[in-house]
C-alpha cells in the first residue's frame, strides 16, 4: 500500500518559490498498474521522486509498505562511467541480491551483447533504457516507478517488459508517469491526471485519457 496524504512540494528558483505539488492525494494498492498523465512541467518527475522516497515533500506525508523501485527513467541511478556489468554488481550489492546471479540475469535480459562490458556512456539511449529495465527487474520490487522509459526501447523489448509485468502481476505493480496516453493505455489498468499540482483519479483508463486530451 502506498498513500500520499496532502503532499506539497516547492522549490527555490531565481524568481522566488515555485509550487510544484499543491496537495496531492493518492492510495495505490499492491499489484495495481496505475498511470499518471501530465503535461510537460506538471511535476510528474517530482511526484515520482517523492513516491520513491528520494526527495522529501515540503508538506504532507508519504506512507509506503511496498518495496518501491528507484525512479526508472533517463539514466537515473546508473553510473555512466562504469560498465553495464559493474552497474549490475553495484545494484546487487546495494539491494542485497546475489551478485553473480544478478549479473547473469541483467546480461541475459538486457541483450546488450559485448556492450555489457563497455562503459554505459558509450550506449545509445535505447541501450541505456534496456540496461535500466534489466537492472530494475533483477530486484524483486513490489512496485516499479516508471518515468516514460519503456518507450525508448524498441517494440520487441517493450513487449518483453510487458511480459515481465504480466508474469509478476500478482505481486508487482507499476506506477508510470507519462505525457503520452498511449503508454499509459498499454501498461495500466487505471489512471490519474496530474494537474495544478493535484491528482485526479479515474477508474477507467479511457475516461482519464479523454479528460486528459480535453485539457
Amino acid at each position: 500500500m502506498l498513500e500520499l496524504d496532502n503532499v506539497w512540494k516547492s522549490f527555490e528558483t531565481k524568481q522566488g518559490m515555485k509550487q510544484v505539488l499543491r496537495g496531492a492525494n493518492a492510495r495505490i494498492r499492491r499489484g495495481e498498474h496505475v498511470g499518471i498523465l501530465g503535461r510537460n512541467g506538471a511535476g510528474k518527475s517530482t511526484l515520482l521522486k517523492i513516491i520513491a522516497g528520494v526527495e522529501r515533500p515540503t508538506v504532507g506525508k508519504v506512507r509506503c509498505t511496498m518495496r518501491m523501485s528507484w525512479p526508472l527513467g533517463g539514466s537515473f541511478g546508473i553510473q555512466t562511467s562504469l560498465t553495464g556489468a559493474a552497474n549490475a554488481r553495484f545494484i546487487a550489492r546495494v539491494y542485497g541480491t546475489p551478485v553473480r546471479e544478478t549479473e547473469e540475469f541483467v546480461e541475459d535480459f538486457s541483450e546488450l551483447g559485448h556492450y555489457f562490458r563497455e562503459p554505459v556512456k558509450t550506449y545509445s539511449s535505447g541501450m541505456t533504457s534496456r540496461l535500466m529495465m534489466a537492472l530494475s527487474f533483477s530486484v524483486d520490487f513490489d512496485c516499479y516507478l516508471v518515468d516514460e522509459t519503456l518507450s525508448t526501447g524498441d517494440a520487441r523489448f517493450a513487449d518483453k517488459c510487458r511480459a515481465v509485468f504480466d508474469m509478476r502481476r500478482a505481486n508487482a505493480g507499476i506506477l508510470m508517469v507519462s505525457h503520452n496516453p498511449l503508454h499509459v493505455k498499454k501498461y495500466c489498468n487505471s489512471a490519474a491526471i496530474l494537474r495544478n499540482g493535484m491528482l485526479e483519479f479515474y477508474e477507467d483508463v479511457d475516461e482519464a485519457i479523454t479528460a486528459y486530451q480535453g485539457l
Binding site: A52, V54, W70, F76, G77, Q79, L82, F90, R93, V164
Partner: protein, 267 residues
C-alpha cells in the same frame, strides 16, 4: 533463465544493509578512482616525496639539518604526508554530493554512506602511501617507528578530523554554493599553521599556545613523537583532538541531514 524468475534478496537488518551499501560504494569508488587512470595515485605518491626532497635539499645546501640527529628527508616527509591525507580527504569529500548525485536515486543510499565510502577510500589510499614511506625509512635507513600503534592512531585521527570537516563543508555548500571556491585556499592556508614543517619546540611559547588551538598541530606533533621518539619534544593532547573529532563529526552529520531535503536531483 526464465524472465519471470528474479534473483531474490534475503532479509537483512538495518545495520547489515547500511554496511553492505557502504561496501558497494567503496568498491565503486575504487573503480571510478583507479579504474581509468593511475595518474592520481602516482601524484599522491610523488607530490609529498617531491616536496620533502626539495626542502631537505635546501637544508642540505644551507649546511644545517633539523638537529638532534633527525633524518632531514624523513622529517619533512613524515610531517607532510599526514597533512596530504587531511587535505585530500577534505577536498574530495567536500564534493561528495555533486559527484554522486545519480546514486541518490537509490533510496537506501544516504549522504552519510556516500561520505563514509569516499573518505574511507581516500584514507586507505593515503595510509598506504604513508606506510610505504615508513617502511622504506625502516628498511633502508634503519629508522624504525618508535610507537607504530600511536602513529596509526595519529593517522586515524587526522582522517576522522578531515571526515568531519568535509561533511560539514559538503553540507554548507548546499546552503551557500560559493563556499566551494574557498575550500582549496582554506586547506592551503592550513599548511603553515599545522606544524607540518617545524616542531612546536622550535617556537616561542606564545606562538606555541596559539598554534595548539589547531587540532591538526596536536596530531602532527604526536605523529612525530611516534616516529622519532625522544629525539623530539612533542606537545599534544589526545582528549583535545578527540573533542574536535566528535564535534566536527556530529556537526557534519547534522549538516548532511539538513542538506538532504534541499537537494534537487537532476541528471
Amino acid at each position: 533463465m526464465i524472465i519471470g524468475d528474479v534473483p531474490r534478496r534475503a532479509d537483512s537488518s538495518q545495520v547489515a544493509t547500511q554496511l553492505r551499501v557502504i561496501g558497494a560504494l567503496f568498491m565503486r569508488e575504487l573503480l571510478t578512482r583507479f579504474g581509468t587512470s593511475r595518474v592520481g595515485f602516482i601524484w599522491l605518491l610523488a607530490e609529498p616525496m617531491f616536496l620533502a626532497l626539495m626542502i631537505s635539499t635546501m637544508h642540505w645546501a644551507s649546511g644545517h639539518g633539523v638537529g638532534n640527529n633527525l633524518p632531514t628527508f624523513l622529517f619533512y616527509a613524515m610531517g607532510y604526508t599526514p597533512f596530504v591525507m587531511f587535505r585530500s580527504i577534505v577536498n574530495r569529500g567536500q564534493n561528495v554530493i555533486n559527484a554522486n548525485m545519480s546514486l541518490l536515486f537509490h533510496r537506501n543510499i544516504t549522504l552519510l554512506d556516500l561520505a563514509i565510502a569516499r573518505n574511507l577510500m581516500e584514507a586507505a589510499v593515503c595510509s598506504m602511501i604513508i606506510t610505504l614511506f615508513v617502511t622504506v625509512a625502516a628498511v633502508f635507513f634503519d629508522e624504525w617507528p618508535h610507537e607504530p600503534a600511536l602513529l596509526f592512531c595519529g593517522l586515524m585521527m587526522s582522517a576522522l578530523l578531515a571526515h568531519g570537516l568535509s561533511m560539514l563543508l559538503a553540507a554548507l555548500t548546499c546552503f551557500y554554493e560559493p563556499l566551494e571556491r574557498f575550500t582549496h585556499p582554506l586547506t592551503y592556508l592550513m599548511m603553515p599553521i599545522s606544524a607540518t614543517f617545524y616542531m612546536l619546540s622550535m617556537l616561542p611559547s606564545e606562538s606555541r599556545d596559539l598554534l595548539l588551538i589547531n587540532p591538526l598541530v596536536h596530531v602532527h606533533e604526536m605523529n612525530r613523537w611516534a616516529q622519532f621518539g625522544d629525539r623530539v619534544v612533542p606537545y599534544y593532547s589526545i582528549p583535545y583532538v578527540l573533542c574536535w573529532i566528535l564535534g566536527l563529526n556530529l556537526l557534519g552529520m547534522a549538516g548532511l541531514r539538513a542538506a538532504r531535503s534541499r537537494i534537487t536531483m537532476m541528471e
